[in-house]
Amino acid sequence: VSISGKFLTATIGTTPIDGTHEWSVQETVDALEATDGASGGRAKKDFGVTDTKIRVTFYLDVTTGAYTFIRAGTSLTNLALYADANSATPLYVIGDASVFSATVRGQIRDRFIVDAEIEAYGDCVVASDPN
């Protein structure tokens, strides 16, 4: 049993995003009002459109690193998010992902970090339990 994120990683296809130290996926579904007279005063909500928002944060090597592949306005194919780099199956694969925001940040007393906000484009999200 382990709940450690020590070996997490993110890849595009099979290529690791170097320096990845944090990722998150937030899935939200619109709640559509479906309460009617027959519901006896209890609310009913229907599922609406699903949004999948992904955030990937990685350290940027200032000599050999890369960030232009993930600039805002680019599309990523097969963004895979692993709980453990040694796992056979990622927790999420987003077949078509759109980058809506990318921030490159550096501090003289700290590190260079790239922070990208991404959304899934269409029905392209495959989720798997840890393995």
């Binding site: 020590k6 070996f7 997490l8 990683t9 690791p16 170097d18 320096g19 990845t20 130290h21 990685f58 350290y59 692993y82 453990d84 780099a85 040694n86």
Partner: protein, 160 residues
């Protein structure tokens, strides 16, 4: 001889950088040797001045990503000179300290350019730290001028 460890390689890099300064001192003036030792001291019978590099034990590792980790190593450089009983300051030692700091600060990216396979310098900083020895236990006829540095290295995480 075992394969070179990162801490050993750091000590040798610092020594090479200080060697390149070609410091001269003493009476009569002669080349000042720089040596790596397990402590920042000079064995009895050695000629001074001497510059001693001492790499302490490494700090905790911090995972950077699935492939790499960050480790800090404490590095001390101790300039040992004669005339410990004199009270006057020594402008030469102060100049050498400045030069040593520049070597370890490595703005030119030469000191740690070839560290060891699987390890690269992230950053190196001068830090405030007490000398790596008990001054009172050392011979009073010598001066010990100690500088402390933190050398941070990005290392590959070995996977099975």
């Amino acid at each position: 001889m075992p394969a070179l460890s990162v801490s050993e390689a750091i000590g040798l890099c610092v020594k090479a950088g200080i060697d390149a300064l070609a410091l001269t001192g003493g009476t009569p003036p002669a080349a000042v040797p720089c040596v790596v030792r397990k402590l920042g001291v000079v064995p009895s019978g050695k000629t001074v001045p001497e510059v001693v590099v001492y790499v302490g034990e490494e700090g905790a590792a911090e995972p950077l990503d699935a492939r790499r980790k960050l480790k800090k190593y404490s590095v001390y450089v101790v300039i040992v000179t004669g005339g410990g009983h004199k009270t006057g300051t020594d402008p030469t030692i102060r100049l050498w300290r400045k030069l040593v700091e520049e070597v370890v600060d490595d703005k030119a990216k030469t000191t740690f350019a070839t560290l060891i396979t699987g390890a690269k310098l992230n950053r190196s900083d001068s830090v405030e730290s007490p000398p790596p020895f008990n001054q009172a236990a050392l011979a009073a006829d010598l001066n010990y001028s100690s500088q402390a540095f933190s050398v941070e290295v990005i290392q590959e995480r070995v996977t099975t």
